[in-house]
């Protein structure tokens, strides 16, 4: 049996209320009030599609053996690199080693489901056993556009395999349509689209029923055979129309998280699938439909394993871990839409020395250190001479993964002098449980959430952006564990 073994959703912590956007930009186009409901998830200044995919992937990998994963697929239309395999960065960050196949899936928004399909069919064929599929997007609408409100940032990840699956893959049906509803050319930063009325009438209303009928016919099923129908369509009124067209009772519709997250590109239908799995019961049949340059429809049946394999309601947990991004301009600055003065200190040249990064790829991208085989002391960064003054053994080290170890704050500060997109720059010494320590930036927190002894977890983040060369560099940051009252 092949299917989904585990999964994870990821929604960044910051949420921008759409009324805040409208208050700032509504003067330009008052009609955007139609979309000014709910909030959109906004990636932190140090997040992008790669880091969000890693976050979702880590949830899917929780407490799992990482040594037998044979491939990593990444789908996104907002990949930080045109050349340099984005999925290769993700697999290093996930601690999966390099003896695997990795691939980027891009272009249309259905790339997420296509990546998942590719993995499922590969496992189904028996040629591979365990593959990781990630999808993330961080699309930008221009200020005052409807898309600025509609889009949100999020990610989803699935571990696909043929043992202990929580949802069995039963079949699929695909359409590919060169339909230019949304498009970005080679150098485009912002979304462009064609008229909504055409997109709805000629696109959504045509393709979604077509792909669903195609799948139902192929497997001799009726829409009511499904417990949940998951489809990507951000137009609220259109969803009602589609439900009727498909003959779906309202309870079959899986919510699209538009009011909490926003349309999250290639991750949209997959985040909805993760959310559906959070609530699923054994025997439930799920139909997943993506939209964008055509559609993929995928059909799953939830197994008995769901009870023990639930990722502790991964999507619900992300949704509840939220903080208001109450200043619209902060969003503009984080996305590099509005130029900001950060002082001359921010203008230091931060170029990437690629040969150095290659040597240190495990240390920097993977957060691997070393553990002394003589005295057992874990140390970061990796050492050749043991740091334990009682030991000092030379070249007795084994590789040791730190990214999955919890840690505690040893000391901290909030620095107003350091150039930061979210001052004060918070950082401090963190000791890993089990040994080892390093100075980390803290992220997704405020200064008053830091204290000596506070537990932290580690998150893969964009460490720097080399504007001169368009290069994103990545490392790990510490996030204080929220206090549970």
């Amino acid at each position: 049996m092949s299917g989904i073994v585990s999964y994870g959703g990821y929604v960044p912590r910051y949420r921008l209320n759409r009324k805040v956007i409208f208050k700032a930009m509504g003067w330009m186009d008052p009609s955007t009030v139609a979309n000014a409901r709910g909030e959109k998830a906004v990636a932190n200044f140090d997040e992008d599609s790669i880091t969000m995919a890693v976050a979702a992937g880590l949830t899917a990998l929780q407490d799992r053996d990482r040594s037998n994963i044979e491939g990593v697929y990444f789908a996104s239309t907002t990949m930080p690199y045109k050349e340099r395999l984005n999925a290769g960065i993700i697999s290093l960050a996930l601690g999966l080693g390099d003896r695997l196949r990795a691939a980027d899936f891009a272009g249309g928004l259905k790339a997420g489901t296509t990546a998942l399909l590719s993995a499922l069919e590969s496992v189904e064929s028996g040629r591979t056993k365990n593959l990781m599929v990630t999808a993330a997007d961080c699309r930008l609408g221009r200020p005052a556009s409807a898309e600025e409100m509609i889009f949100g940032d999020a990610a989803a990840a699935f571990l696909v395999g043929n043992e202990n699956v929580v949802a069995e893959f039963k079949g699929s049906y695909s359409l590919t349509c060169d339909f230019g509803d949304h498009f970005r050319g080679e150098f485009a930063k912002y979304d462009r689209k064609w008229e909504d009325r055409w997109v709805r009438d000629a696109g959504v209303d045509a393709f979604i029923p077509m792909v669903i009928r195609g799948l139902l016919d192929r497997y001799g099923m009726k829409i009511n055979d499904f417990k949940k129908v998951i489809y990507d369509c951000h137009y609220a009124a259109e969803r009602n129309k589609l439900n009727k067209m498909l003959g779906m009772p309202p309870e079959l519709e899986q919510g699209n998280l538009q009011a909490e997250v926003g349309q999250c590109g290639t991750a949209q239908s997959l985040l909805m699938l993760a959310s559906a799995l959070d609530m699923a019961e054994p025997g439930d049949r799920l139909l997943v439909v993506s939209f964008g340059s055509g559609c993929d429809a995928l059909y799953f049946e939830v197994t008995e394993n769901i009870a023990k394999k639930k990722q502790a309601q991964s999507v619900a947990r992300c949704l509840s871990n939220r903080a208001d991004l109450d200043v619209y301009e902060k969003y503009l600055i984080w996305r590099d839409i509005l130029p900001v003065e950060m002082g001359l200190r921010s203008e230091e040249d931060v170029w990437t020395r690629w040969s150095l990064l290659w040597r240190k790829r495990l240390e920097i991208i993977g957060l691997w250190g070393s553990r002394c085989q003589s005295c057992g002391t874990p140390q970061y960064p990796p050492q050749r001479v043991c740091a334990n003054p009682e030991c000092g053994a030379v070249d007795k080290m084994e590789e040791y993964l730190f990214s999955d170890k919890p840690g505690r704050i040893l000391s901290y500060t909030g620095d107003m002098l350091a150039p930061s997109f979210n001052p004060p720059a918070a950082y401090g010494a963190v000791g890993f449980d089990g040994g080892g320590r390093f100075i980390f930036d803290f992220t997704d927190c405020k200064l008053d959430e830091l204290s000596v002894g506070r537990p932290v977890t580690f998150s893969f983040r964009r460490k720097y952006y080399d504007k001169l060369r368009g290069i994103s560099g990545y490392f790990w940051k510490a996030i204080p564990v929220k206090e549970v009252k």
């Binding site: 920097i364 740091a387 500060t413 002098l417 950082y427 320590r437 100075i439 560099g473």
Partner: protein, 401 residues
């Protein structure tokens, strides 16, 4: 068996520029200024100098690498010249090398000169430059000097249970005292009095350090000509000797940053360097025997814990000594008698020599009555270069002969 440096080297002459935002001066101007005073004070001719040790840290902001800038600027006549850099201990390292070369009997008269031109960066604070290697931005936290040192406060507070507001009081006392000491020093950069209220209300730089918890950033140069006590005695018949009692330096071993025992609330290097310095100088009880100190108050919190790490205040007990005035100008062991880094700023290559200069002036009774330390016999300088978990500590003890 090595016998240490005690009483083997004398200071023949010293020079020190005014420290400050020397917009009109480059590193070359500053070197000429310090050297000219130093040479005149030594009462010798330039050609009598047999070797030169030159300390500068940010060569990229000044005149480039190597010792050639000092040799060419001062027109030193083809003598051995060597550049030293050891972070904030750089000035002291130039002095240490000069002293060792004399003590070794290799040379009779040697110049140590330190300089730093910082105020060509265009912004406040120290530049990061390339101080941390090839690509620190790839994994190092978004750190600045105040933020690295500020962390001591949170760790100290947690370790000793001293609440942050008490730490804020003590470090404010330190800054107020330093400003008071520096106000009448013509070579100091910052020469104004500040109040406890001003210090505590200042804008936050790196929690919990406010603006007045940070030393100034300035340009400056200082120089010393050292020789043997015999030569000094023959050249300076009517003057007390100023003798080197000990020169100590300890570099982090990697234990603080990579092992699991360091508490983040003290400087391991300072404790070791101090113990060795006292041993070399024959000091049994530093609290009683040290007459005055110039310590590395890059940030007030650094001075706070250094009082313990120098084995003068009890561990965990600096607060009481600081607040009782023990380290004030009229206290038992006056500290920062010329205003410290707080008022002089910290031109890295020059600071260690500037501190020695402060004692040199005292021992030769060259300071006005108001700035005089009574019965000064032993002075201790302390430099701390790097970060709390990765640093060099140098300690020099200088005495009246």
């Amino acid at each position: 068996m090595a016998s240490g440096i005690k009483d083997k080297v004398a200071i023949l002459g010293m020079g020190c520029t005014r420290f400050g935002e020397r917009w009109e001066s480059g590193a070359d101007d500053l070197m000429v200024e310090a050297f000219t005073e130093c040479l005149a004070d030594a009462g010798i001719e330039k050609k009598e100098i047999q070797a030169c040790y030159y300390g500068i840290h940010y060569d990229e902001l000044s005149m480039g690498k190597s010792a050639l800038p000092v040799a060419v600027t001062l027109k030193l006549p083809y003598i051995p010249a060597t550049r030293l850099d050891n972070y904030c201990a750089t000035g002291t390292e130039a002095f240490r090398a000069a002293c060792y070369s004399v003590a070794a009997g290799v040379y009779d008269i040697v110049l140590a000169l330190g300089v730093e031109k910082l105020k060509d960066t265009g912004y406040g604070g120290l530049p990061l430059g390339n101080a941390m290697g090839a690509s620190p931005w790839m994994s190092f936290a978004n750190m600045t000097a105040p933020g690295m040192f500020a962390q001591i406060a949170s760790a100290y507070s947690a370790k000793w249970g001293v609440p942050m507001d008490k730490i804020k009081d003590a470090i404010a006392h330190i800054s107020v005292r330093s400003h008071k000491n520096g106000v009448s020093n013509p070579r100091a950069h910052l020469r104004s009095l500040v109040t406890m209220e001003q210090v505590k209300a200042a804008p936050m730089i790196a929690y919990p350090l406010g603006l007045f918890d940070c030393c100034g950033v300035s340009d400056g140069s200082a120089a010393a000509i050292v020789t043997t006590p015999e030569i000094a005695r023959s050249l300076k018949k009517n003057q007390d000797l100023v003798l080197v009692k000990s020169l100590s330096i300890a570099a982090s071993s990697g234990e603080e940053e990579a092992f699991n025992t360091w508490d983040g609330a003290h400087f391991a290097t300072t404790r070791i360097a101090a113990t060795k310095a006292y041993g070399e100088a024959g000091i049994k009880n530093p609290r009683e025997e040290v007459s005055m100190m110039e310590v590395h108050d890059c940030f007030s919190i650094t001075e706070f814990v250094t009082m313990e790490d120098l084995h003068i205040s009890p561990k965990g007990g600096a607060y009481d000594d600081i607040m009782s005035g023990f380290y004030d100008m009229d206290g038992k062991v006056p500290c920062q008698i010329d205003g410290g880094l707080k008022c002089f700023g910290h031109p890295i290559g020059a600071s260690g020599l500037r501190m020695i200069y402060a004692f040199y002036e005292q021992f030769l009774d060259r300071v006005p009555e108001a700035r005089k330390v009574k019965n000064a016999r032993i002075g201790l300088t302390h430099n701390l270069g790097g970060f709390p978990w990765h640093n060099l500590c140098s300690i020099s003890i200088i005495g009246r002969g």
